[in-house]
Every structure is written in structure tokens, then in C-alpha cells.
Amino acid sequence: MVNPFNLAFPEIVDRSKNIRKKVICMNYHAGAGHTGADLSEADILSALYFNVLKYDPVDMSNSDRDRFILSKGHGVGGYYCTLAEAGIIEKSHLDLYLQKNSPTPGHPVRQKTKGVEFNTGALGHGFSVAVGLALAAKMSKRKFRTFVLLGDGELQEGSNWEAAMSAAHFKLDNLIAIVDRNRLQLGDRTENIMALNPLAEKFIAFGFDVHEIDGNEPEEIVCAVTSALNVKEKPHVIIANTVKGKGVSFIEDEPKWHHKVPVGSELVHAIEELE
């Protein structure tokens, strides 16, 4: 199994732009959403879906596919726009975001949306599930890799550290955790609410193979995954330093944009900046 796109870095950047424009339009029309998180993670998702992950967009139940779990389930807007950009879900489903009985509800639901592996939304769940998936792959001698995208604020949930301890204990070198390290959470900056630093050192102490990169640079994301997968017998974490709201100046690094959406002329201004 291969990545169905295998795009070069400039093309991945183009896809990131498309995802961001979709996010802005979708959240504008829905009148709700987590715009900051959706934009923050766009480059990570673009790098994964257009270069790294091995999957078949037509058959997302193929048991050999790489698994991706969005543990930071509130970033579902960026996720849906990526799935639509990759042709896994219909683009028209983005118009139904948050509507009654929508195929694109406000947090990921695997029974509702093609390509969604797991139901998330409450924080601190996806990491353990990813550990279970990676262990299942090891035990059944299958080659799929498991990727989990964690929010940085989410790491304040203690359950993540239970998962981290077990990932190292079981030597899950087929598990790649990516931390969307945008340094903001609902109420304020992570370091003001409950400091996470020194974050890399925490993962090192837990026995991880740790990589720290610019998470808004797809090339760095792809290279970090490649480099990580060469390290055996340790689970991997990529601390992806990102800017929340990346790509739109008035949304970037602003705590209030955690779950605010563009209104009025903000739509045009945001799209202009993303062109």
C-alpha cells in the first residue's frame, strides 16, 4: 500500500492552502467551528494525507491502511477539509458541517464520516487508542503504522501519560504521535494555564524518540516522519511547533479564535490572505 498522492513539498503546500480556504468558507457558512485549531493543524494533515499515510481513498476500510486518529477532536474542521481535499469524502459534505444529522458533525464520528477512524472530542482519549492499534499491528505482524494528532493543551490530561508510558513499554516503533504545539488552549496560553515545558524532555524521559520541528512546514513534517521511522524499538513523537490560526493574520496566535469563526467582511479578507 502507498500514499495515493505522494506529492512533492510545493504541492503539499498548495494543498494546505486549499484546506485552509475550505476551513474558512465552511466555518463561515456553518456559523461555528474551531477556526484556530483547524488552521493550526492544516500543514500536518496535508503532509500526512498527501505524502505520508498509505491508504486507498476509495476503500478506507482496507485493513492494511495506515491509521490516523485525531485525538484533538475539536480540530475536526481541518480534518474534514483534508478528507474532502483528498477525495475521501464528498466536498458537498462540507456544506453540511454541524447541520442536523450531518455526515460532518462537530466532532469526529466514525459511524458518520468515511475515513474517520475513531470518535473523539473529549480530550485525552486518542493516544491510548492509538497505542492499542499499534500493539494490535505488532501482535498480528501487520505493517500499518498508527498516527495520532494530539493537541498541546490536551497533554494536560493525565491519561496521555498513561498512554505514553505504555507505548514505550511495548516498544511501539510503529506509533507516531504528533503534537500540534501551537501554545494556545481555550482559556489562554498553555504556559500560563498549566505549563507543558519542558515538553521534549518529558517525552524523552518517557522513552520516546523525540523530534521537534516547524509544524507549519510540510517538508519538515515529512522528513521528521521518515527519520523517526528509522528509529527502532521506541515510539515516536514529533513536537510540531505551529501557529494557531496560521495563514490568516487576524486569526493567528489569538486565544479568542479557539472557537470563533469569520463573520462579514472577515471572510473576504481571510481568503485574500490565503490566495
Partner: protein
């Protein structure tokens, strides 16, 4: 022959594993709690110990189910529905992962260890999660059958599994059927509806009541969800008196379920729930002493039954 029903559970898992390679057991440092050793000796690779980390226990089980395995988790009941509540709700129930949760030593099984280890709300909590099937076996044979059913069923299951050495109380040839209540002893004066291993105490009480001229019908509820109410309703319709007995909170357990059935079906009857009322913690005492405190012993059941019937007689 009497057998500890945790051993019945593990022995059945051993049998199932012979033909089911997807079966795995996840424990949280609870290998002794679930007496898994015989299974472990046969299948060392199929037992995953996540350490004292119950949230991770359930999340990992969900992930392993997504990866094609059939995980059975086995840990102390007080640390399952309580500690891993949100993982059970979201990762198992809402996500509909094929995981079987086994809560060990529920109720007052840990007696003297105190309320941190008592588990009185696992059934009501599981029932609040929409889709999970909930079973409470009461003897070795039923434990084996419920274990096999749970592993073969596709979807979330919770089994409340007591630490209890018991003889089989069901008739030879008994077949567990999800949803069905089971009449263990027939009677015409009073219906006693019982959860789990309390059935043994209730049967002792019913035998004594019989000596006093009271014919109690004793019904076991091994299947809390699904639950077909016909058997219970028929019995209450016949006797006009109902006593529910459970080592569980009186709020949301089988007493509540039977009360709802009575109201919804417009039955007229005398009604009494035996269990643990809200608003207090039980003392840290031996199990039998705590049971006595809540009238969950043979004499208590007898007293409550007679009181209920006297009320009826007195109008």
C-alpha cells in the same frame, strides 16, 4: 460442583481461545484479581498488562478492537466504571468497539477494604451508556455461557462478575438467553427479583419462607440489557407482591428497573426494594456484616418479605 465463578470465567476463556485467535485479555495489574493464571499459562502472548492505569486499559482495548482483536478487559469493578468512566462511554460505547468489559468483585465484595473498593453503581452507569449489553451471572454454568456469548457477540458488553464460590442453581440443560429473566423457584405469594449472586441468599430465604407458609417466586436477572420484561410482569401479575434484591445502589439498579416496569404496565402491587440507599457510605466491614446492615442477608430478605405480605394482608 461448587466453583469460584471467576474461575468459571477464566476456564471458559481458555476454551474459547483454542479456536478464537483474536481473543486477548487486558488487565491493569489485576492478574490475581481475575485469577487469569490458567489462561496466561496457555496463552502468555494473549494477556496484556497495562499496569495500574485503568483509563489506558480501556482506551487500549478500544484500539486493539479497531486493530481486529476481541479484547476482554478484567479488573476490579470499582476502578472500571468509576475510574475509566469516560473511556467506557466514548471509546467503547459511543465508538461501538468490540470490547468486553469485566468488572470484578463488585458490590461489597471487598468488604473491609471500605468504600474506595465498594462498587454499587456499575450496572446503573453502564445502562446510562445507551448501547452496551449488561450481564450479571450468578453461578458457574451461567458464567461460562455468558462469557462465551459476550466474546461471540459483536459489540460492547459489560459483565459484573462477583468473587463467589457457588453451586449451579439452574436446572440441567439451562441455556442463557440474552434478555430473558429466569424463574429459579416458582411461587404464588410473592415475587423476589434478584441481581447476580444474591440469588443464593434469596433462595435460602425463600426456602425458610416456605416453611412459614409463604410461596415465593424467585427470579434471577442475568441479562439487564437486553431485558424482555414479560417473565417479570407475568410473575408480579400473579403474586401482586414484589421484592427486589441487589448488592447495588437502589438508584438505577434492578429495583429501579422493576419499578419502572410496574408503572409503565399499570400493574397494581406491593413493592419493596432492597439494596443500598443513596446518601451514605457503607462501613469498612466484612461483606456479610455490610449485607446484614442493608438487610441483604437471608434473615433480612425474610423480614422484608413478611413485612410486605403483612401490609398486603392488613390492606
Amino acid at each position: 460442583m461448587a466453583e469460584e465463578i471467576r474461575d468459571s470465567f477464566v476456564n471458559e476463556l481458555r476454551e474459547i481461545k483454542k479456536t478464537n485467535k483474536e481473543l486477548v485479555v487486558l488487565v491493569s495489574d489485576s492478574t490475581s484479581t481475575c485469577r487469569i493464571k490458567p489462561f496466561l499459562e496457555d496463552n502468555p502472548e494473549a494477556v496484556i498488562n497495562v499496569g495500574i492505569a485503568e483509563q489506558n486499559l480501556i482506551g487500549m482495548a478500544a484500539g486493539m478492537a479497531l486493530g481486529g482483536f476481541t479484547p476482554v478487559t478484567a479488573n476490579a469493578a470499582p476502578f472500571l466504571m468509576g475510574r475509566s468512566n469516560e473511556q467506557v462511554k466514548n471509546d467503547i460505547c459511543y465508538s461501538e468497539t468490540n470490547v468486553k468489559l469485566v468488572g470484578l468483585n463488585p458490590g461489597f465484595a471487598y468488604g473491609s477494604l471500605g468504600p474506595t473498593h465498594h462498587c454499587l453503581d456499575d450496572v446503573s452507569t453502564a445502562l446510562s451508556f445507551g448501547n452496551i449489553q449488561v450481564f450479571v451471572p450468578s453461578d458457574p454454568e451461567e458464567t461460562r455461557q455468558i462469557t462465551r456469548y459476550a466474546v461471540n457477540h459483536i459489540g460492547p458488553v459489560y459483565i459484573r462478575l462477583d468473587s463467589y464460590k457457588a453451586d449451579n442453581i439452574h436446572k440441567d440443560g439451562y441455556r442463557f438467553v440474552p434478555g430473558e429473566s429466569v424463574v429459579i423457584k416458582e411461587g404464588s405469594d410473592l415475587t423476589i427479583v434478584v441481581l447476580g449472586t444474591m440469588i443464593h441468599t434469596a433462595l435460602t430465604a425463600a426456602a425458610e419462607l416456605e416453611k412459614q407458609g409463604v410461596q415465593a417466586e424467585v427470579i434471577s436477572l442475568p441479562s439487564i440489557r437486553p431485558l424482555q420484561p414479560e417473565g417479570i410482569l407475568q410473575s408480579i401479575g400473579k403474586t401482586g407482591n414484589v421484592l427486589t434484591v441487589e448488592e447495588h445502589s437502589l438508584h438505577g439498579g434492578i429495583g429501579s428497573i422493576v419499578a419502572e416496569l410496574v408503572l409503565e404496565h399499570g400493574l397494581s402491587c406491593k413493592f419493596k426494594k432492597l439494596g443500598v440507599p443513596a446518601g451514605s457510605f457503607a462501613p469498612a466491614s466484612p461483606r456479610s456484616d455490610i449485607q446484614e446492615e442493608y438487610n441483604l442477608h437471608s434473615d433480612g430478605i425474610i423480614q422484608e418479605a413478611l413485612r410486605l405480605l403483612n401490609r398486603t394482608k392488613n390492606g
